[in-house]
């Protein structure tokens, strides 16, 4: 038996699952927006603006979810500053939850600046202060801010998996592949979110087709990493014999990866595949988190 089976469950449930999902989408969408911002053409601007918007709202929602989930939400700032020694910073480079807190803050800052820049570009900012900020984020500065946001986006998508691995919990600490898996899932769900939302801001068919082509590749990478993740679990894989194994196999692999890949190959409507990718990304977080969370119940039932 893996030594991880003797630890206690941290009660990370639906708020954290939602955060991991939203953070993944926001991070993935921001990375793609930044890449298209740097290397795409003028016809891709709607995708760029949508990506930065998804990233900004995702970062804000992520911060809210994480704060609400705390046992003492008003003490959220204790993760950023030493509570007894303000304004000394609180930072542990070896603790994912510590550097993750700083990551979300910085990601939010750069994503919001990029989103404001995009909205100013469209002339959609009516507040004078926001218009001034958004107006300043343009040209070369906008590219730099967007690039930093994109890099932080990859970090946000992936560090959540590293956070799970840097514990002593079953499944999470039994494999080093969760971070890589969440990065791939963030990329695929980020692309899916853009495919669904960018048409509303005037994205062209060509832009959407490029995103779809990327999503196909991201799904293949996700499937490969998922196989490596399961293989690395070894004897711990017995935890999948049950409901969460079914969710992983049918929901994540079947509906979330294989089905959209098939739709892409058949050149069927992009939106249907994108919705399935989002469902799969959500179920991936549900299965990996709740499968481990539930194990303590068996431990208690066994009188251990």
């Amino acid at each position: 038996m893996s030594d991880t089976f003797f630890s206690g469950a941290p009660h990370w449930a639906w708020l954290i699952i939602l955060y991991f999902f939203v953070g993944g989408i926001a991070g993935g969408a921001c990375l793609l927006a930044a890449v298209v911002d740097w290397f795409g053409g003028p016809e891709d601007r709607p995708v760029v603006r949508t990506g930065y918007n998804v990233a900004a709202w995702g970062a804000i929602l992520s911060g809210a979810l994480l704060t609400i989930d705390l046992g003492r939400p008003l003490r959220f700032w204790h993760m950023l500053f030493q509570s007894a020694n303000v304004p000394a910073l609180m930072f542990k480079g070896w603790s994912p939850i510590s550097f993750g807190a700083w990551g979300i803050l910085l990601f939010g800052l750069f994503a919001v600046l990029s989103a404001l820049g995009g909205m100013a570009e469209e002339g959609r900012l009516h507040n004078a202060a926001l218009r001034a900020v958004g107006g300043a984020v343009r040209g070369g500065l906008a590219k730099v801010v967007g690039g930093v946001a994109g890099l932080l986006g990859v970090f946000i998508a992936g560090y959540t998996g590293i956070l799970l691995s840097v514990t002593n919990r079953p499944i999470w600490a039994d494999s080093p592949w969760l971070g890589a898996l969440f990065v791939a899932s963030g990329a695929s769900t980020g692309a899916a979110a853009l495919i669904l939302l960018a048409p509303g801001r005037g994205a062209t068919e060509q832009s959407l087709a490029r995103l779809s082509a990327f999503d196909t590749k991201a799904l293949v990478v996700e499937l490969l990493v998922l196989v490596l993740f399961v293989a690395s679990l070894g004897s711990v894989n017995r935890v999948w014999i049950g409901f969460w194994g079914l969710v992983l196999l049918v929901g994540v692999v079947g509906l979330g990866i294989v089905a959209p890949l098939r739709l892409h190959l058949q050149r069927r409507p992009l939106a249907s595949a994108a919705k399935l990718v989002l469902l799969g990304g959500f179920l991936l977080r549900v299965a990996t988190i709740l499968a481990s969370e539930g194990i303590e119940r068996y431990r208690v039932a066994a009188g251990m």
Partner: protein, 268 residues
């Protein structure tokens, strides 16, 4: 500077009276679960079942019965191990978890924000949220009592000296003598967590066991959560690099396609 202090728990003399549990709850003013209306476990005389935010001591009842006349009870008063290399202290993002001058590990309740990272990091399942404070809590090794020269409440209350408090160096010597004594009587006895060169640099609350650690709900080789950090981060960066390259190559190809289109061809 005080020397490292801790517990040596000799499970062979524990009688399961739970005086330690009661003394701990009373001294630390820990609340009752569910207003005192507790659901019985139904399959054991142990109804506490586990350590958590309001049970900082737990007497495990391990009932090994093969038949009506062939069995034994193992009892062990479990508590935070006050690891020399503590996983909870390592991951705590607020600095709420500290190492004291007695080499014990304490959660400062006024700093903790209830993120619960320490719960998942502890290899022994010791920590949990106290629903009254909303913060993570566990045994403090009675830090407040130690500060004024008193013995922790649990060991003070233990009627059989199963829980012994003292300096770690002295406790190790005492524990080894007890193991030698038991072995000379033909009892299979081993120390768990007493070796400073062992897992987590040794435990400042260590045990004398007469069965495998797993039987007592203890991991054989407890480790720090950070053992996975470098590998997990490396794979994540590799995954990000692959996806980044795929995105870049796709876009660059498009640009080259655009450049190699009819207009570009005409200029050649």
């Amino acid at each position: 500077m005080p020397e490292p202090m801790g517990f040596f728990t000799d499970t062979t003399v524990c009688i399961g009276c739970k005086a330690c549990e009661v003394a701990c709850k009373e001294w630390n003013q820990l609340p009752a679960e569910n207003g005192g209306i507790r659901e019985l476990s139904g399959d054991s005389y142990d109804n506490t079942r586990r350590l958590d935010g309001i049970h900082w001591r737990h007497v495990r009842f391990i009932e090994q019965f093969k038949g009506p006349y062939d069995g034994r009870w193992l009892m062990m008063s479990d508590v935070c191990k006050h690891c020399v290399q503590a996983g909870c202290l390592e991951v705590c993002p607020t600095g709420a978890i500290i190492r004291t001058e007695f080499d014990t590990v304490v959660i400062q309740s006024d700093v903790c924000n209830g993120c619960r990272a320490c719960i998942a990091a502890c290899p022994f399942g010791v920590i949990d949220i106290n629903p009254v404070s909303g913060t993570a809590q566990k045994c403090t090794l009675c830090y407040d009592r130690l500060k004024v020269g008193l013995e922790p409440a649990c060991s003070k209350a233990c009627p059989t000296d199963s829980i012994q408090f003292g300096s770690i160096v002295e406790l190790r010597t005492r524990a080894q003598k007890r193991v030698d004594q038991l072995k000379s009587q033909g009892v299979k006895a081993e120390l768990y967590g007493a070796d400073p060169k062992g897992s987590l640099g040794g435990l400042n609350s260590f045990y004398l066991l007469v069965d495998e650690p797993e039987v007592y709900g203890l991991p054989r080789n407890p480790q720090l959560p950070s053992r996975n950090l470098a590998k997990s981060a490396g794979f994540s960066v590799a995954s990000a690099a692959v996806l980044g390259v795929l995105a870049l190559v796709g876009l660059r190809k498009r640009r080259m396609d655009d450049m190699g289109g009819p207009g570009a061809g005409g200029s050649n």
